[in-house]
Symmetry: C2
């Protein structure tokens, strides 16, 4: 029961600090009626999965997730095809990655195929919530966090697994909307030996500052680099691709490699690599990519297209990269019907909505 | 309302994965009767602070703290002196650091002196909970996290500030208990441009793995290093000091410097530096400290003492560092009554319990 404020005059606002962020979001995302909940206890394992009404999550004030960020998650989508079937896109990859993330944080592992069965059950219960138009989908958020009610940092003794859902509209309401990136060499997103390849909450909140700096520089997202060589890693919360003529004169699709563990192994990223190899139009390369090499290619006018990849946007076209006061832009035809990224988007979404029969798309409900 | 499990046979335990961690903690820390709660909203600022009964914290399932680790905290202690006064140790430093942490994560800033008044009010309400014996204290956990109920990563629109309390016993129940460290060169705690100098949840959960590796190597804590030079940064969740004859033949107290932002600016750390300078017994240095320089000094038998510092232990004596299969140990007299770390511990605790009159100790209730 709440008591009155200890002193009526107490207030925490600092006179000289503006309390208004320039941030967006007035709205609140909509959560579907139900969510999946599974509890884990050391020595007992996972409880019976339950589909419960969506509502507040109540935890002990000492729960580790509030203090030590023992939390990892996934982003997935479910689509309704023209036959009314519910489809998911390579969902087993999300299960693998969530287990990988959990293991890095000493959170409990689980059986991915069993969790997918639970997700199917959840989608059936809330099927009416899944939007039926092309471009629309149900976004799914599997999430594991430690509820260990111990004030010190320890191994996890208790954890919760949730799957929450939110219907989402098309990322681009009126066709492709390319965005600007600003190179951020001040804030380093990830480092070898860290957690850059883990879908871990702690990778994300530190990038809010970079996002604000990018917005102040007139860009939509930060382009993260690291080390003296300014290796390109990720753009905002997306993987990044270049379609260009490289410095050997070859037409190439290139994306930063996963070798040093600083980059999230995106499922859309892997799908773009796989499809591009299948298409055979160009060399397809994963390697360390110093920023200067990219800027040099811009100066030679050899950069044809740049795009980000992720579950939310699928493909996010990029119009320019701002660095050191200079804007490096891709040509206008980067966004034409025949552009690599446009054809890739069309193919991927056709697979996701079951218009092309493909093993990556799984009918789940 | 909970529904039944979607399929009775569903279960997430993976046949081949052991679900038992070798972790400790069977007990649950005790929380005092009350906690302080203040809510923040973009555009409205902080609400009236309230002292409420301790109980579960209930948040929207999309609250950012669960997904993106927008959270930072402090650790402080309140002590009862021989006159029955409640004292705190340099609490304004914790307020400064919490504001610094919040600013790095784009969480709201607050007026530190006003929050200290709220903390005093909380300590008065739960004064009977503060243990009265020397060595015992009330541990306080100020905590700010984003409750923004938006599924995407955005600027913070809503946040909560809590102060929770837990009575704690002496860190060492029977005198000094030195611990072993194991050098961890696999997991990197922090890097320049990251969040190593921020008391941010995301710095902590990734170290649970390092802690487990250290335990498997027979040590209590990991000694974190980074970069090719293997610069020493922190030991577990503590700052680290060496008392030694350096390679110039000088008697020196040395601790890693704060210059590159990889190290938490510990308040006990700063207090040890300040007192050592006042004592004038030795050179006192903050600088980058390559591991090899320390190992060389061990081989010369020039390392006299190593200790960690932090709010929990004040001073944590270290007996040995294990690296590459070799144990490097300090001499036995490192823990004698006359040792630097023992005298430092005695002085700091005498200040904390008001036995020595010192401006660092503030009577608050």
């Amino acid at each position: 029961m709440a008591q009155r404020s200890p002193r009526k005059s107490l207030q925490l606002n600092r006179a000289n600090t503006p309390i208004n962020f320039s941030g967006p979001m007035q709205d609140v995302n909509v959560i579907s009626d139900h969510m999946l909940k599974v509890e884990w206890r050391n020595g007992l394992g996972w409880s019976n999965p339950q589909i419960i009404q969506s509502g507040p999550i109540a935890l002990h004030p000492f729960a580790h997730v509030f203090h030590y960020a023992n939390e990892c998650y996934e982003g997935m989508k479910a689509y309704i095809d023209s036959n009314g079937n519910v489809r998911m896109f390579r969902p087993e990859k999300n299960m693998e990655r969530l287990n990988f993330s959990a293991s890095r944080l000493c959170l409990p592992a689980f059986n991915g195929e069993e969790l997918l069965k639970c997700i199917e059950a959840l989608l059936k219960v809330d099927k009416e919530w899944i939007p039926r138009k092309k471009g629309y989908a149900m976004y799914l958020r599997p999430l594991i966090f430690s509820t260990t009610p111990w004030l010190g940092l320890t191994q996890t003794s208790e954890a919760h697994l949730y799957v929450m859902m939110s219907p989402v509209g098309p990322y681009f309401k009126s066709g492709f909307v390319p965005i600007k990136l600003a190179v951020d060499s001040k804030w380093i997103r990830a480092w070898p030996g860290g957690t850059g390849n883990v879908k871990f909450g702690g990778n994300y909140s530190p990038t809010v500052m970079a996002q604000r700096d990018a917005a102040n520089a007139g860009a939509s997202q930060a382009l993260f680099v690291y080390d003296k060589e300014q290796y390109i890693t990720e753009a905002g919360t997306m993987n990044i691709f270049l379609f260009w003529k490289n410095n050997m004169g070859e037409i190439e699709l290139v994306t930063p490699s996963l070798e040093d563990g600083t980059i999230l192994a995106g499922i859309t990223r892997q799908s773009v690599i796989d499809l591009a190899r299948e298409w055979g139009e160009c060399k397809v390369t994963e390697r360390m990519l110093p920023l200067q090499e990219v800027l040099d290619a811009f100066i030679r006018e050899d950069v044809y297209e740049i795009f980000g990849t992720g579950t939310a946007a699928v493909i996010q076209p990029i119009s320019s990269i701002s660095y050191d006061g200079i804007d490096y832009s891709v040509p206008k035809n980067a966004f034409s019907e025949n552009a690599f990224q446009v054809r890739m988007t069309n193919t991927l979404t056709a697979i996701q909505y079951g218009e092309i029969d493909h093993p990556w798309s799984r009918v789940v409900a």
